[in-house]
Symmetry: C2
Subunit: 340 residues, 2 copies
DNA sequence: TTGAAAGCGGTACCAT
DNA sequence: ATGGTACCGCTTTCAA
């Protein structure tokens, strides 16, 4: 009858009080031992007893309670909506995570699909992260930034084309990707340049600037740019290839290597020779581009490496008053191969 | 002088007490209003004042404090080490996140790179998630599962080939992928079947079972299986293609479509005709396989869809006593095209 | 060397 | 209809 009947078989989670009881010491001592608190000396026998008790009970400290008491956390929040596809993002994410762990931060990727603007900012703020690194999938408003800062975030960092007031920014100059691609094509004597604009959602923030960059590159050269909406599907590509001749294009910047492969296949099937009749340039410098025939000319993009970003996070956290800086960390250049 | 000098410019994060003070009510009332507590009736004017005060201060509740008090959270932890590359994972993750959000869970992807076994389990347990969904990148031991359960996790779910005691499992029968591929090749009259084993780390848990499945398929048929270590690089593929004839293989299961593309290119460049001389089968049914010439035969894998998994999480959370079940949710079948 | 106790920010019971 | 208050688990003075 010592068991409360309302909780059928729910054994309680052990707390530091349980450990203290079992070890015959106070909760304070448990805390000292388990955290190796330097300012306080605990005898070795006591340490032993505490450790054994913790082990026996399977005690694990409660992160929420700890950070509540501490008044801060070491959590770096990384909001994502659609996880970007591709090896570039994967490498970037792994590097970032690794680098931040070395600096004793905890990286938490927080799914924010379907949230927007301030709603998202509030959801993130509830977790009281010390820093937020936004990849720009979820639009961050100045107001959202303010919400985060008021809730204790020491740093808000945006990575991507967007530039939001009050944040540190790692600018990724997507425009440059389109610009160098178009410049390359113009140099090769191409005049009517198509630019693929993927119809898949979530890519606008890349495709838009790339298209604009291409436009900028042709300005004053007499060459023209034509946007080409395209879905990542065979039918869409075939449909586009079917009216290729009437479009009168002699070159295309295909957004990235995967769309380039799709389009190249459709063009070749439609009897349009690459690069003789139409040049193609991709982007990302994936292995698959080198496997195509003709080999794919591409724009190589040096993604901001994780360690740089981790250092920016850390310095922003340590000096929250520091003026938010915008740092350009994306270089891109054409790797000419056979398709252009 | 009303400012404490120890905190230079650090304005404090507003709490519900601040809201209460500004609205001229008690903290309890603030809580009632902001949570729309049904059991208690608050007058409309009061509600207004509270809401306005909260708005003015930019108040956001503290998730840690809330879940500390509540004694539980709705956090579903998704540990990851290397974020798997590829569209399949991306789709899976987005679906899972979406589905769990609908069930009012919060998905947190927790970077666990470099942690292993119990160490990782303890790190996860500190966050007191209500459920943990392991994709098997970080090895989960029975002891680790026990740690998580003792720390209050109602459900531990593994997705992948591994099967750990005490967990619900979504079995992904990787063996079957290799089996159906090899069966297909044997049916087509192939006798010496190579099986690509990627050398990249983190893929062993897939490649191992796939190889074993292929072996199983050829048993008793007179056909043989030869493991082919391969890095995802042109040189590695060229090297392999260079000694292809001495290997005497008439077919290869290339692990997945991307490795298949790499190998097919190398074989073709080495003058080995596909499929006449060597048949190739990939896996994942990516679009790129349809773009190759010859079109790539592949193994289509029905990944467990997010909604199913979300439902399993929810039911496991609601009935933690329920016997952990192993559910087979991965079907795979060959899609014959031109390369085999 | 160790313990008692306050308090972090919410929530919910019990009064009023 | 609202307020007072105990408590969730942990850290950290301050005392002993």
């Amino acid at each position: 009858m010592s068991q409360s009947p309302k909780q059928p078989a729910e054994r309680p989670v052990p707390t530091s009080a349980d450990v203290a009881r079992l070890a015959g010491v106070s909760r304070a001592t448990v805390s000292y031992v388990l955290n190796n608190t330097a300012a306080v000396r605990i005898s070795e026998p006591t340490r032993q007893r505490v450790r054994e008790a913790a082990e026996e009970l399977g005690y694990v400290p409660h992160a929420a309670a700890r950070s509540l008491r501490a008044g801060h956390s070491r959590m770096v929040l990384l909001p994502t909506a659609h996880v970007p596809i591709g090896p570039l993002y994967s490498r970037f994410f792994n590097e970032l995570q690794w680098a931040l762990r070395r600096l004793d931060y905890t990286v938490v990727q927080y799914g924010s699909l379907g949230l927007d603007g301030d709603e998202a900012a509030r959801a993130w703020a509830e977790l009281r992260p010390v820093a937020v690194v936004s990849l720009g999938e979820v639009r961050l408003t100045p107001n959202g930034v303010e919400i985060l800062k008021r809730s204790g975030a020491k740093a808000v960092i945006t990575v991507g084309p967007q530039r939001v007031a009050g944040t540190h920014a790692l600018v990724m100059d997507q425009g440059r990707v389109g610009r160098v691609a178009a410049e390359h094509l113009v140099e090769r004597g191409r005049r009517r340049i198509g630019v693929v604009v993927p119809e898949e959602p979530g890519l606008e923030m890349f495709s838009g600037p790339r298209l604009a960059g291409a436009r900028q590159a042709v300005a004053g050269t007499g060459a023209t740019v034509v946007p080409l909406p395209l879905r990542y599907e065979e039918e869409s590509a075939n449909e586009l290839a079917g009216r290729w001749r009437e479009l009168g294009l002699d070159a295309v910047f295909a957004y990235n290597d995967e769309y380039a492969m799709l389009l190249m296949r459709a063009l070749q099937d439609a009897g349009i020779s690459v690069p003789a009749e139409t040049a193609i340039v991709g982007a990302d410098d994936l292995l698959l581009g080198r496997l195509l025939r003709p080999r794919l000319t591409t724009v190589q993009i040096d993604m901001v490496i994780g360690r740089h970003l981790a250092e920016l996070v850390d310095s922003a956290v340590r000096d929250p008053e520091g003026t938010p800086e915008a740092k350009e960390l994306m270089a891109s250049r054409v790797v000419p191969r056979e398709s252009s």
